[in-house]
Amino acid sequence: MIFIARRILQAIPILFGVSLVVFGLVHIVPGNPIDLLMPPEASPEVIAQMKKAFGFDQPLYMQYLLWLARAARGDFGLSVFNATPVWGQLITALGNTFVLAVLAAILGFTLGVVFGLLAATYHGRWPDKVFSAIATTGVSLPHYWFAIVMVMVCAVLHDWLPAQGMGDDSLPLYDRLQYLIMPVITLSLIPMGVIGRLVRATVLEILGQEFVGALTAKGLTRWPVIRHICKNAAPPVLALMGLQFGYLLGGSILVETVFNWPGSGNLLNLAIFRRDIPVLQATILVLASFFVVLNLLVDIAQAAIDPRIRR
């Protein structure tokens, strides 16, 4: 309990730091966002009015405090581009990204653990070489390129799957699932490779430790021994899974761009090109905060499995 409380307390200054970095990043660029957005022929009065309406006329530290106070209540203001509430756009986009990330994580983690375990069990023999090669390929593939190749094969050369978008709400479930296949496979490649490599390395290291031999010598059968190995391998693997899930949520922008998936990555991309500061700030802040909370949960889960970490 003390560990959990201390870990939560540690996360708070990090969250503050994150908000400061996000705000700082956005305001490092010279020029007021309204000046960039308004047409050159707009009258000074209109520009001043716009600045006042969006709060850009205040000094920077006031802007930061106001923004933080509102953000804490879930109010991210209005989009400068189309004057709709940022929160609504963000929630829809995050939901769409979440669907992709969860499915890709399930697929990638399962394959990674299976490949890693098999490679470690057959260390040095052909399954090890095959699975290690698959894992290394997964880590080295530029996934945006793999996405294009998938579209090429499955949508252009053959007519197997829809090339982009997420389908209409009116379509039956089976048709809408088809839109998920390519993005999910593409996104699962990196987690599969990263987790596979770590599981292989960790399990190999544990297999070399004395307690495994001792357990076997005590007469334990195969499965209880494997259970002990898994329990020892779990903390580092769990930690990496948490990180990877965070990357899936925050780093899906490239894949979402190729598949035109209306998620948070796409929203971010649009916000960058429209210089839509409120949307940009909100998206980065929410994704980064998510990442902090995720790391917190992973730490707590790790401590629950391995008492040695609770120090």
């Binding site: 969250l15 730091g17 660029v29 080295s140 294009i148 965070g246 980064a288």
Partner: protein
Amino acid sequence: MSQATIDFIRSRLPVSEEALQAPPAPGYWRAVSQRLARDPVTIAVTIILLAIVFIALGAPLVAGADPYAGNVLMRLKPIGTPGHWLGTDETGRDLWARLCYGGRLSLLAGILPVIISLVIGGFLGILAGYVSGLVGTLIMRTMDVFYAFPSILLAIAICGLLGNGLSNSVIALALVFIPPMVRISETVTTQARQLDFVEAARASGTTTMQIIRHHVLANVLGPILVYATSLISVSIILSAGLSFLGLGVTPPQAEWGLMLNSLRQAIYVQPYVAALPGVMIFVTSMCFNLMSDGFRSAMDVRLNK
């Protein structure tokens, strides 16, 4: 004198008794290079990488065509067209020439951020690990904040806000790689600081700078360099990814990620030509990954049997 005092003095002696009795070390780097020489995969990928670097650097010699000269009549020709053996892009420019020249910017944009983060991150990490105290805590807590951003998100945010261009993409990626580099350097330095001979050197009055130069750096540089080579692969993928989003190198410059982006619409016309820039990114990042793996296992002392 009590036994505990004797043990304490022994542990602080400049040369431990075991070290005096141990046979002379066979030479760590010699063992590493011997192990590398017996690893065909690492040799093969190193040769491929050297070839890619050579083609990129010697682009004017091997390209055989102007990478910027377009021809409306020769748009999107397939692989194997006479005069354009890898076909042409959407404005009729020779694809082989653009791939050669593209290697220059792609390699530069991929490797430079790693070198910058190696220098800055390595310095901060060794400092934080060796000095610890307030400075160390300050450095590490600041890094924790940057650690809270998924790397692609941070790179895209920085690059998107600074505006596009090669230098901004290099800055963005360097900033992204500094925190993990600091963390690795800090960890290995903390470990090295506790080694017996470092303590011995300190006890015998060696200055901090000398200890860092002679003892800590020698033990720390290996792991940090291996980690840096493993980052090159990620860096190449990410820097090409930034250009792919339109946030990196600007047209009409030749760069693999940007080429992939501008050929994206051509997958309906010339799918194989459109996929080529991505093949280059993939092969390069794969080779860097395998090379880094090879170096890591060759330098792993525990496998020295």
